[in-house]
């Protein structure tokens, strides 16, 4: 609590937060499209595949309440990783270089200007509640609308475990991933939505379209249930 007050005070003293980063927040918002399939930010943002990013600046890593972090992140957090402009900049340049075995499958922004701009955008949602725009959260798994009755199917994790053999030829069960994304610990709605998006061709990847193409609604629910609960 004290830390939050302090952070707030610092912002007031320093003026507009995005001036710190020096980046172009509008351009950063466009770049943030790449992050939106996993991360929400803004009013009402919640943890989904990745943690929400409100108040990410000036707090410990791995501290978003209620989010199941990878062991790699837990280690980094207990090792004292603290999010500042510099550490976030390092992280989004190459996530796995800073936090080995993170489930974050993003390769990173190699261009320093891109990182500046994204951080300028994110900076608006940290430590200064008055700066949070009155808008809907950015990411709500909106790439494909799945019928509520499909989302309501409760999957059988035992069947999902068997079916997962088709996934684990590429996706690592440990949640580590580079080149092939991590698919563990996703909220089931996000998992189901993504798989149906491949199934109907809204998402473009040919291997995933093929794999999802022959999965029934129940099988997708089973996989979602298994990968959500796996340790």
């Amino acid at each position: 609590m004290f830390a939050r007050l302090l952070a707030l005070a610092l912002v007031v003293v320093c003026g507009p937060a995005n001036a710190d980063a020096g980046g172009d927040a509008a351009r950063g918002e466009t770049l943030f499209q790449e992050c939106k399939s996993c991360h929400q930010v803004g009013q009402g943002a919640v943890n989904r595949i990745g943690p929400h990013l409100n108040n990410i600046f000036d707090r410990s890593a791995g501290a978003s309440e209620g989010f199941r972090y990878s062991r790699g992140f837990e280690r980094a957090a207990s090792g004292g990783l603290f999010w500042t402009y510099e550490t976030l900049n390092n992280f989004i340049e190459n996530p796995r270089a800073l936090v080995s075995n993170t489930r974050m499958s993003f390769r990173g922004f190699s261009d320093p200007q891109d990182r500046d701009d994204v951080l300028a955008y994110l900076r608006q949602f940290s430590a200064s509640p008055s700066n949070i725009p009155e808008s809907a959260p950015t990411a709500a798994a909106v790439d494909h609308a799945v019928a509520p009755e499909i989302l309501a199917i409760v999957g059988d994790p035992a069947y999902g475990e068997y079916l997962s053999g088709e996934c684990t030829s590429c996706h690592q069960i440990s949640g580590v991933g580079a080149g092939i994304p991590s698919i563990t610990h996703w909220p089931t709605d996000d998992f189901v939505t993504a798989m149906h998006a491949y199934k109907v061709g809204v998402r473009a990847h040919p291997v995933m379209q093929m794999m999802a193409g022959r999965l029934s609604d129940e099988e997708i629910a089973a996989l979602a249930a298994y990968f959500e609960t796996i340790n």
């Binding site: 390769r107 068997y162 079916l163 053999g165 690592q172 580079a178 092939i180 291997v207 093929m210 794999m211």
Partner: protein, 420 residues
């Protein structure tokens, strides 16, 4: 007899667990022996051990302590991977999953007694035997070549020292020299493999020996991802690669390893490196077990069991299963179906319907990856293709780079799935 014995064992196991008598229980656990620790065998051993939670004794017989994956070994030739990065040990399978790993050769199978004889003299009893021995070469397939010539003319189709030898020979070629490949007839391990290898050799020579020539003698009219490879060769290695197909004598070859010559349709030429990839057959233990028909071991698609012995399952390259290509991905996919069925047969666990998939990535040049894949299902006759895709010619650099990155992720994924 078999049925009675198994029924008796089942009863004894149930009694033993009630009484918690460790000696009896140890003797009554069902036993699975897996021969071959590659993509099929290692995966099957791991999944049976992992999913049975110790209810099945799993023994894996594999001669080498460090297994070098055939997949990605072409990238070693091209300079994109270190050989060390392709080597994997069986330590996790033993320590974390309780697989009894025996480093020995399986030399005979007594199907009546249900035992596997080891070169070191031991004998392993089994309730189910899983053979995943990979490939051997058909004797006399390339006149003038036999396995004793593999140092002069490497096949490099089992990864490790052969791959290192081939690379050393390429690096020692005289400027402007000739690298020749004798490509295999269908069916063989890794359909795009010889042509990815040509790409990687070209990549290596382009840097070190740009006037060198690459010659392929090929008995096949066409080959996997042909349009993609030919486009890539034209774009990146123009004028370097010549392929002689069967119309021009590519099926009529002979070699002389002592003289380092290759004869194509009677024309004898000097070559500096000759990579002979002969016609293939199932690994020898399949033949010794008496479950082969011709060069391969026919299997039932539903559980990968031999059509000649329902206590034996055959995985991967050695199996004649239908439409799947012989690949590490296929073997890994088949192993999971087999593991589920074997577990069900031995412990009564739920057996889910078989489903198979395969994807093969190939690297043409730096950040230029392509892929082909398909899904499959079990029919009464065979493993039958359901749906498939292949990379397109003319794809953007970004797509090709992403495909290559994806292949690296796949490699990490599949070896984690095999070795834990």
């Amino acid at each position: 007899m078999t049925y009675n014995r198994r029924a008796f064992l089942g009863t004894a196991a149930a009694t033993a667990s009630l009484l918690a008598a460790p000696m009896v229980r140890a003797q009554t656990k069902p036993r699975v022996v897996v021969v071959g620790g590659g993509a099929g065998g290692a995966t099957a051993a791991r999944y049976i051990a992992k999913d049975s939670g110790g209810a099945i004794d799993v023994t894996l017989v594999e001669p080498t302590r460090t297994y070098y994956t055939c997949f990605f070994s072409n990238l070693y030739l091209g300079g994109f991977r270190e050989m060390q990065s392709l080597g994997h040990s069986y330590g996790t399978l033993a320590a974390q999953f309780g697989v009894n790993v025996v480093h020995d050769w399986a030399v005979a199978v007594d199907r009546d007694a249900k035992t596997v004889a080891l070169a070191g003299g031991g004998s392993l009893p089994y309730d189910r035997l899983i053979l995943s021995p990979g490939i051997d070469f058909v004797d006399g397939a390339v006149p003038g070549w036999d396995i004793s010539a593999q140092n002069a003319m490497p096949h490099a189709y089992k990864a490790g020292s052969q791959t290192e030898l081939l690379k050393a020979q390429i690096m020692a070629m005289p400027q402007g020299g000739t690298f020749a490949m004798v490509a295999p007839p269908n069916p063989y391990r890794c359909p795009p493999g010889p042509y990815e290898r040509i790409s990687m050799v070209a990549h290596l020579l382009k840097q070190n020996n740009p006037t060198a020539k690459i010659l392929i003698a090929d008995p096949k009219e066409s080959f996997s991802k042909q349009g993609l490879f030919e486009e890539g060769w034209n774009d990146n290695y123009a004028g370097m690669i010549e392929r002689i197909g069967p119309d021009f004598g590519g099926a009529n070859v002979a070699v002389d390893p002592a003289a380092m010559t290759l004869s194509i349709d009677g024309d004898v030429m000097d070559v500096d490196v000759c990579n002979v990839i002969p016609a293939m057959k199932a690994g020898r233990i399949a033949e010794l077990a008496g479950i082969t028909d011709g060069n391969w071991a026919p299997v039932n698609a539903a559980d990968m069991s031999s059509t000649m012995d329902d206590s034996i399952h055959v995985l991967g390259d050695a199996a004649a299963q239908g439409d799947m290509p012989k690949s590490g991905f296929s073997a890994n996919s088949q192993a999971k179906v087999c593991a589920n069925a074997v577990r069900g047969a031995l412990t009564g666990s739920t057996v889910f319907p078989a489903r198979f998939a395969n994807t093969c990535w190939s690297l043409i040049d730096t950040d230029n990856g392509v892929k082909v894949g398909a899904t499959y299902e079990a029919t009464p006759e065979k493993i039958a293709k359901v749906d498939g895709f292949v990379s397109q010619t003319g794809e953007s650099d970004d797509v090709r780079a992403a495909t290559y990155q994806e292949s690296i992720g796949w490699y990490d994924g599949i070896v984690a799935d095999m070795f834990g």
